[in-house]
């Protein structure tokens, strides 16, 4: 059966533009067949080629003394001391999760874990960043329930603890949820595996699960806008199998310990296509693969289908020729397919055989080098106005506003979510979800790794540049708050359609802000992911450039949590000056929930102050003067204090400010601050003065059930707890 000749229409239906089609004809000097066109379309999709974002990603700082592998490998690698490397990356699975929340989220976790163990690292922790539509939107309950159990379903089964994450609810995500999953792994820094193919003649091995017709063209789907039609088109989504994922992880790690693997690449988006092309192109070599040898679970799969299937739990490796038998034994032990399917060549071409004939013969270089790169136009951004707190506040008592805020979906307890994740398996979790950063022990040592995911989309929308920087600063604060030293970041850029100038502005400006902050805070970007076209019927999501940060603490015994431990401990706020009696309410949660969310500029970020304050906090925690610390973020100072009291089950008496604007003081979201509890208030205060860091006395922890202000306003801590705990369960069980 001969297939019809490919035309521009075919190319267009695969998401390629007329110019891109012309370039393919030119490079091949002939018309591609279906399989070849599919390969071009996948490699040149937004998802694989980063064509709209590359220009901006290049501006990010990627170097530093701790960086072993920056962006470009399957995941980033940083030196954490003792000859060890932390390997981590974040990745989105937004579109699949909207279509099938359980499987979409589960395969998102599976995919990011493969990126980490492909590098030879054993994954030790998972995090996530989630965005759902408004709580009262008809789909939210279903999507939240499915996504959370999918994340848990995969992570719990494979046995990697989920130690942190974040979740927001906002109507802009009604038709476009965000599911970003991050994985962190550990290995010896001299035992990292990379993907560049080596040694012409060496065997190419396919391992893992069999190939089916799952998620064909997932990469192009992830690069296209949603519309009502998409929902009815119902593309085949991938189904994850965490059990096979676990077998694959164990088998690969076992094989990597045996000096057999030369290069290895997981099959993620665009499956066999992107894995083979990337391995060959990085090695400057070619590949010849016999598709008839690929293990399949469905009959009569075409070359096109085999190359574009996104079946999960598969890997491609180049191994030493004499290691084949040992390698096969290991995969047999773990009941996984192991199949030599081809060899590395010197031709620089991707040659695929099928049914004894050549199904594809194309040069590899253009697939990668000629992938389009666009400098898409931006719109001139008009910053939201600076709005004074006076224009926003009411005169209700602080306690009643606090209660109201803690009940909102923005601030309510996330327990219903994170109790569905095994946060303790591997028995190294020092702090799971519920604090600032997740903290795990480096197995068998006193060292710890801290990690956090953060982004505040409403800030990014109001001021993309500042919002990009703020995401880094907030992650930085979460790491510092447990006493760890921030090392490096990974990021996931979630935006709408980049062909719209205003979306391009959001992306470009927030990446610039993110880069400035990463540079100033000495946390280079070592990996990341971009998810564009997050739009439904022309309605873009609120921009969400998520930052995932990893830090290290040399002695876990010094780490702190957010809960004060006894009455009498002094509460201080670091990064705020003594006579502060107002605060920045523009773009705050207070403005959103109490004042109808007026368009207003977000609080500015001072990177210099962030760094000074963060380093001061790290040194004080290291010195043992601090009992508990919590960064001030969403909801402001009084929310941070209340969260500490709720975590401790203790009350506090707080000194109210003099004059000024009490609601601005209580709920302003000024950046660069931490609330701490200490028994050594004098020591800490003096040290702050010496370090030229602002510090201000807030009050004292009490053994009562009351958060009390010295003007008499008060509220019961148990009431705050029960209110904050009730919100999400009420939605999900209601």
């Amino acid at each position: 059966m001969s297939e019809p000749e490919m035309t521009l229409d075919n190319a267009a239906s695969m998401g390629l533009s007329a110019d891109e089609w012309k370039l393919i004809l030119k490079r091949l000097e002939r018309t591609p067949n279906l399989c070849e066109l599919g390969i071009f379309s996948a490699m040149w999709s937004e998802h694989c080629s980063y064509k709209s974002s590359k220009k901006w990603l290049k501006t990010l700082p990627v170097d530093g003394p701790m960086v072993i592998d920056g962006p470009g490998e399957n995941a980033g690698a940083v030196d954490i001391g003792d000859g060890l490397a932390a390997i981590f990356k974040i990745e989105s699975h937004n579109h699949p999760s909207y279509i099938e929340p359980y499987q979409g989220a589960a395969t998102g976790v599976g995919g990011i874990l493969r990126d980490v163990f492909t590098m030879g690292a054993r994954p030790v922790a998972l995090l996530n960043a989630l965005r759902f539509g408004a709580a009262d939107h008809e789909k939210t309950r279903h999507l939240l329930g499915g996504v959370v159990s999918g994340i848990g379903g995969y992570g719990n089964c494979i046995g990697i603890p989920t130690v942190g994450g974040e979740v927001n609810f906002d109507a802009s995500y009604n038709g476009n949820v965000l599911v970003n999953a991050m994985a962190v792994g550990l290995t010896h820094s001299d035992r990292i595996f990379r993907s560049a193919a080596t040694g012409p003649g060496n065997p190419i091995i396919y391992v893992g699960a069999k190939t089916g017709r799952d998620g064909i063209h997932g990469a192009t789907m992830a690069s296209a806008e949603f519309s009502d039609e998409t929902e009815s088109k119902r593309p085949t989504v991938q189904v994850g199998d965490p059990f096979t994922g676990k077998l694959l992880m164990e088998a690969c790690l076992e094989l990597m310990g045996s000096d057999s693997v030369l290069s290895i690449q997981d099959m993620g988006a665009a499956g066999l296509t992107s894995s083979s092309v990337e391995m060959a192109s990085k090695g400057g070599l070619g590949m010849e693969i016999d598709l008839d040898l690929v293990p399949t679970r469905e009959e009569e799969m075409s070359a096109y289908e085999l190359m574009l299937s996104e079946s999960q739990e598969r890997m491609l490796m180049v191994i030493k020729p004499d290691a084949t038998r040992r390698a096969r034994e290991i995969f047999d032990k773990w009941n996984l397919d192991f199949m030599p399917i081809g060899r590395v060549t010197e031709t620089g071409r991707l040659v695929l055989l099928k049914d004894g004939a050549t199904a594809c013969d194309i040069p590899i270089k253009p697939l990668v080098d000629d992938a389009p790169e666009y400098d898409r136009p931006q719109a001139k951004f008009v910053s939201y106005p600076i709005v004074e707190s006076r224009a926003i506040t009411s005169d209700a008592p602080i306690s009643s506003i606090l209660l109201q805020l803690l009940k909102t979906f923005d601030l309510a307890s996330r327990r219903w979510i994170y109790e569905q994740y095994d946060s303790q398996v591997m028995a190294d979790t020092l702090q799971g979800p519920g604090g600032d950063a997740g903290l795990i022990r480096v197995h068998g040592s006193q060292r710890g790794l801290a990690m956090s995911t953060d982004c505040t989309p409403r800030y990014v929308e109001a001021d993309p540049h500042n919002g990009g920087a703020q995401a880094v600063a907030e992650a930085y604060r979460n790491i510092c708050a447990v006493g760890a030293r921030p090392l490096a970041i990974t990021n996931n850029l979630n935006f709408g359609n980049p062909e719209k100038p205003e979306i391009m502005t959001q992306m470009a400006q927030s990446v610039i802000g993110m880069g400035e902050a990463a540079l100033a805070l000495n946390t280079p970007v070592v990996s990341g992911n971009v998810s564009l076209y997050n739009e439904t019927d022309g309605q873009a999501i609120r921009p969400c450039p998520v930052v995932g940060m990893v830090g290290v603490i040399n002695d876990i015994a010094t780490a702190v949590g957010i809960a004060p431990t006894a009455s009498g401990q002094t509460l201080l706020v670091i990064g705020q000056d003594e006579d502060c009696n107002d605060g920045w309410l523009g773009a705050s949660l207070y403005a959103r929930h109490i004042a109808g969310e007026p368009l207003a500029a977000p609080p500015p970020v001072s990177l210099e102050a962030e760094r000074k304050t963060g380093e001061f906090l790290q040194s004080q925690i290291g010195a043992g003067t601090i009992i508990a610390a919590h960064d001030v973020s969403d909801g402001g100072l009084v929310v941070a204090i209340a969260e500490m009291c709720m975590a401790a089950g203790l009350g506090a008496t707080i000194i109210s400010p003099n004059g000024g604007n009490a609601h601005g003081w209580a709920f302003g979201e000024d950046q660069g601050r931490y609330v701490i509890a200490t028994d050594d208030a004098g020591v800490v205060t003096n040290a702050a003065k010496t370090a030229d860091v602002n510090i201000c006395l807030l009050g004292v922890i009490s053994a009562t059930d009351e958060l009390k202000f010295d003007d008499g306003d008060a509220i019961s801590i148990s009431k705050l707890i029960s209110s904050a705990e009730a919100t999400i369960p009420a939605l999900m069980n209601g």
Binding site: Q103, G212, D214, R234, T236, D241, T244, Q312, N335
Partner: protein, 82 residues
């Protein structure tokens, strides 16, 4: 009336559970076992005497809640003589 709804994975959708069970049966000496697919069998008590309408309502339940059309098919069986 009692209605039985069978939910099965669409053809081509991976069934890891079925695979694991098949392998285990083979290991236990049931060599004659080939592919296995696992679905759900939901037995519903429905108070609706009109069979046509019953079928229509149960189909609606399947589409709204019981099955996920992306990966699953359903079929409705209304036993006779009720």
């Amino acid at each position: 009336m009692q209605v039985i709804v069978n939910i099965s994975l669409k053809e081509g959708v991976l069934d890891p559970q079925g695979q694991a069970i098949a392998r285990s049966l083979n290991d236990l000496g049931f060599q004659e076992v080939g592919e296995i697919r696992v679905g759900k069998r939901i037995v519903i008590e429905v108070n609706e005497p009109n069979r046509a309408r019953l079928h229509q309502r149960v189909a609606k339940m399947c589409e709204t809640l019981l099955s996920n059309a992306v990966i699953e098919d359903y079929d409705i069986d209304i036993p006779d003589g009720q």
